[in-house]
């Protein structure tokens, strides 16, 4: 699978990281890879939302998302590990930001890395499917992996996406690639 790097956003103490150009019909799949995501506020969720073309320059608060969210975790202290569905972090026709993590640690060496796949955002026929996998150092010294999947329930083309913490600012690098 060959990918083209389209844009790199590097955040340092930023409230959000937005991609507001180049999401169009050029590619059938857009992959967002994020590295070294470190929040200012401990135990905040790393999240995303989109704008459709009928809400240009919008506030990322209109597009309805229905999603699933499960994670798996294991602590450095070898506490009981688990694989769990998280009803508090899925969405059901909600216009809020979709969590990619639950409680990301803000320690100096704590971070998240992962990727989000967004399929055919320029479609004017279908809902927009996505899935993501994020691997992160949770604030309680625990390895977490979160798996999210779902769709943006809109047949209008999607052309903007924004990533942010649910609370506070963050450092990190997010790269947008196009495939196909």
């Amino acid at each position: 699978m060959a990918m083209d790097l389209i844009t790199t956003n590097t955040s340092s103490g930023a409230a959000s990281s937005s991609f507001t150009s180049s999401i169009d019909s050029t590619y059938k799949l857009y992959i967002f890879k994020f590295y070294d995501v470190n929040p200012a506020t401990d135990a905040a969720s790393f999240t995303f939302q989109v704008n459709a073309t009928d809400d240009p320059g919008g506030d990322y608060d209109v597009s309805l998302i229905t999603s699933t969210y499960f994670d798996i975790y294991h602590s450095e202290a070898d506490g009981t590990p688990a694989l769990e569905y998280r009803t508090a972090h899925d969405l059901a026709q909600a216009a809020s930001f979709q969590p990619l993590t639950i409680s990301l640690g803000n320690g100096a060496d704590e971070s998240a890395a992962g990727e989000l796949h967004l399929f055919n955002p320029s479609s004017t026929t279908y809902v927009k499917h996505f899935y993501g996998a994020t691997h992160y150092y949770q604030g309680a010294d625990t390895a977490y992996s979160a798996y999210v999947g779902g769709y943006i329930n809109d047949t209008t083309a999607i052309d903007d996406i924004q990533f942010k913490m649910a609370s506070g600012n963050f450092d990190g690098t997010i790269k947008m690639y196009g495939v196909g």
Binding site: Y35, G79, A108, Y137, S145, Y177
Partner: protein, 184 residues
């Protein structure tokens, strides 16, 4: 230069381990290891990996990880999705499993992809995740196995740069092709 960029190809033939000790640096944000044609000599052992922060002199960095898998046998029995405590570590310095219980029949083995994020960082721990499909078999001498879909993830708990990686079975030798790609 395409993305991902092929950096190196290592071919194992009856090898006890495969170490990649060059090309892992700050050039790429992410390294992707694609393992194919993997086949162990010994029956039903674990294929795994560890990393080094000293150029390959030692492979023993503390790792905290998770592991779950889906599995089923060819006869339709044994279907399950479960956490596997044999595949995780809690600050362990052992080899992190990628695929357990790999069958050594001539047409068996495992294949999959391991992603290692920003190994050159001197600030953050080193996250990784893997997905491997293996032909598993619990019954030596039989051929009634089936697929195991294995999901591993976690971090190497070091802020030193990781500059080498090694793959091996926990017992016995193996054949296989390991391709290392860079993503920037």
């Amino acid at each position: 230069m395409g993305i991902p960029t092929l950096i190196s190809t290592s071919t194992a033939s009856g090898a006890s381990s495969v170490a990649i000790t060059s090309g892992i640096d700050s050039t790429y944000d992410e390294y992707m290891f694609v393992i194919t044609d993997q086949n162990p000599v010994s029956f039903a052992y674990i294929f795994g990996f560890q990393v080094s922060i000293d150029g390959g002199s030692n492979y023993n960095v503390a790792c905290t990880s998770t592991f779950f898998m889906a599995r089923q046998k060819e006869d339709g029995s044994g279907a399950a999705l479960s956490y596997d405590t044999d595949g995780d570590q809690a600050q362990g310095t052992g080899y992190q499993p990628l695929a357990p219980n790999v069958h050594n029949d001539a047409d068996a083995g495992c294949a999959g992809i391991l992603h290692l994020f920003n190994p050159a960082s001197t600030t953050y721990v080193k996250h990784f995740y893997s997905r491997f499909l293996s032909y598993q078999n619990d019954n030596p001498g039989t051929h009634d196995g089936g697929p195991q879909d294995c999901f591993g993830a976690g971090y190497f708990n070091t802020t030193s740069a990781v500059d080498a990686i090694q793959f091996q079975m926990n017992d016995g030798n193996f054949d296989g092709v390991i391709q290392m790609y860079g993503i920037a």
